[in-house]
Assembly symmetry: C2
Homo-oligomer: 114 residues x 2
Amino acid sequence: MNQRYEQQMKKGVFEMLVLRLLESEEMYGYQLINELKIKSNGLFILKEGTLYPILYRLEDDGMVFSRWSQPKEKEVSRKYYVITESGRATLIEMNQLWSDFSKHITLIMEGNNE
Amino acid sequence: MNQRYEQQMKKGVFEMLVLRLLESEEMYGYQLINELKIKSNGLFILKEGTLYPILYRLEDDGMVFSRWSQPKEKEVSRKYYVITESGRATLIEMNQLWSDFSKHITLIMEGNNE
DNA sequence: CATCAACACTTAGCAATGCTAGGTGTTTTT
DNA sequence: AAAAACACCTAGCATTGCTAAGTGTTGATG
């Protein structure tokens, strides 16, 4: 099938998923990509050129804030992202919205051919 | 919540939903907008500027073809869209993909905070 | 019967977002 | 020493939904 459709379906949930991962614990960019890949069983593989702009947007919107780690000898400095109260509140709403959507979509897709 | 997130979530399933409606019976543009609105309980309201480009894309991709109705006296001519074999096959794949996505997303969203 | 809403289709141009493809620099593996 | 992996950044492109405009018809409203 056309790869385009697959990509389009994935769009729109990336921000929610990233925020969801950050709800559990603060993470840095590269880590988020790996965690999402693992947790989604390889279904959601974010590209760096996709993730970083998402993080900057979330930060602009006040959903997260970032801090650079203080690396201990022979460690790279990493930029950690931390979810804010506003981010947690938004995540709850996103989750609700998602439940609604998926319920309705499933209904339409499985509906009888009347 | 930011309206942006809502819109983004809806993107990506519009084509699938339109194709699903056309699977039941041929329809014209305006009709599709109303049917989707009713079937989704007002959740998915396609704008004309969104739907028509979708239909043209589906047609370009060979998922549907269109025919103008021969209006009987005092009736407007309407452009009906009919799903093709290729469209039916793609719809099956889209449906499978959607099931996969929603399953994984729900898992991540509901997963324990480990 | 004039006006306005609803029906029905079309499209140019804008905004948002994911990706490509490049860049920088560090650490680990080979 | 070289290559791969880690970690971050970003300009520019492609796709897609929407705004806002246009055309023309039919039906309701006063």
